[in-house]
């Protein structure tokens, strides 16, 4: 009887542990990817997971040399939608391990040098603050 109670408790703790850190599921650590602030088109995550570096490289040359400045595949748009609120409710910079880009890049041990020059935080605007607040309430 006592054994039964312990085993049930044990199971409960185990399942709790699994629920709180899904990253450890199946015993394989996977990166904890922060949620984006806005929903985009279907297949965006799958496309970006594999191709973000190529898409951004292409976009970068178009922007710098030809002055084509659309939102699509722009680094500014990436860091704006993937902003992660810090303890002060402001978007964190690349210095924080919570930053969206770092979540995967730290895991894969691939260094990002974009942010030596580029801002890792979204351009400050009231709209973004509202967006972040909405996200925190979610």
């Amino acid at each position: 009887m006592r054994l039964g109670v312990f085993s049930i408790l044990g199971l409960l703790f185990l399942s709790l542990a699994v629920m709180t850190s899904s990253a450890q599921a199946d015993g394989v650590p996977t990166p904890q990817i922060p949620k984006a602030l806005q929903k985009t088109e279907k297949g965006h995550a799958e496309l970006m997971r594999r191709n973000h570096m190529d898409l951004m490289l292409h976009k970068r040359d178009k922007t710098v040399h030809e002055g084509i400045r659309g939102k699509q595949y722009s680094l500014k748009a990436c860091v704006s939608c993937h902003a992660v609120p810090g303890p002060d409710k402001q978007p964190v910079s690349i210095k924080s391990p919570k930053h969206f880009c770092r979540a995967c890049h730290d895991y894969a041990a691939v260094s990002v040098d974009c942010f030596q020059c580029h801002s890792s935080k979204p351009p400050s605007s009231a709209g973004l603050v509202n967006l972040l607040e909405g996200f925190l309430k979610r």
Partner: protein
């Protein structure tokens, strides 16, 4: 995979007409009859720049006051150029220059920055192709391919370029800058691409004498083209044949 999403064929002409309409209205609404730049050339965000446009600047030194540095501070603020406390190695995109005629004692003050040459020597010497001229005449550094050799800095007769010596933080989103690369005035390319005018020109018009005029030299209807056609203006070191896009009046 087709990653070129800018489909030229499907360009929405209705939107373009709408924009042209707005531009027309805005042009009229500037009451003083002075349009600071040509609205007609405003391009759509997804469109590439063309050589139909040649951006330029006309600086009237008679209206440029001694000791006024409004353009310099506006540039620093716009592009996030701070000081390290070591002035000798601080980057500088625009500076004020004082000229004095020793025979008459006459003094002239003028802003000096990248002159956006038609034949830029910085582009000629760049070993990686990082220093380049955009189709619309703006001379830029592609910092993705700049190796920081500083050859362009030596080639520039206007001393317009700076090297970033120290690691930077909190750069502006619209003006990426970083250690180990060369930089210079971009004519506020991020503003121009949205149909705006450079920060220095704006600050000079709003807070100082309005000595700077920005516009399209190729458009005969633009204020700048009319002014350079009517009044005598000079390119600094015109003898070098670089055909700078920045011209000066009163020197």
């Amino acid at each position: 995979m087709n990653i070129d999403t800018e489909n030229r064929e499907s360009t929405n002409t209705a939107r373009r007409n709408f924009l042209a309409g707005i531009a027309g209205m805005a042009g009229v609404s500037i009451a003083s009859g002075v349009t600071l730049f040509s609205f007609a050339e405003a391009k759509e965000a997804g469109e590439a720049v063309t050589s139909k446009v040649r951006w330029g600047m006309l600086i009237d030194t008679n209206k440029c006051e001694d000791g006024c540095t409004k353009c310099v501070s506006a540039c620093n603020k716009e592009n996030g150029i701070g000081t390290t406390g070591r002035a000798e190695t601080d980057p500088q995109w625009i500076r004020k220059v004082q000229l004095r005629d020793p025979k008459t004692g006459n003094q002239t003050s003028l802003p000096m920055m990248c002159q956006h040459c038609a034949e830029p020597p910085c582009v000629d010497v760049c070993p990686t192709g990082a220093s380049f001229k955009r189709a619309d005449g703006i001379v830029l550094v592609d910092k993705h391919s700049c190796i920081g050799c500083r050859y362009c800095m030596m080639a520039c007769p206007y001393k317009a370029r700076s090297f970033v010596h120290e690691a930077l933080e909190d750069q502006k989103s619209h003006a990426p800058r970083g250690k180990g690369t060369v930089e210079s005035c971009t004519l506020c390319v991020h503003r121009i691409d949205k149909g705006g005018i450079p920060a220095c020109v704006e600050a000079c018009a709003d807070e100082a004498g309005g000595a700077m005029l920005f516009g399209d030299l190729n458009d005969p209807k633009s204020e700048i083209a009319k002014r350079v056609a009517k009044y005598a203006s000079r390119q600094i070191r015109a003898d070098l044949g670089l055909n700078p896009g920045v011209r000066y009046q009163g020197i």
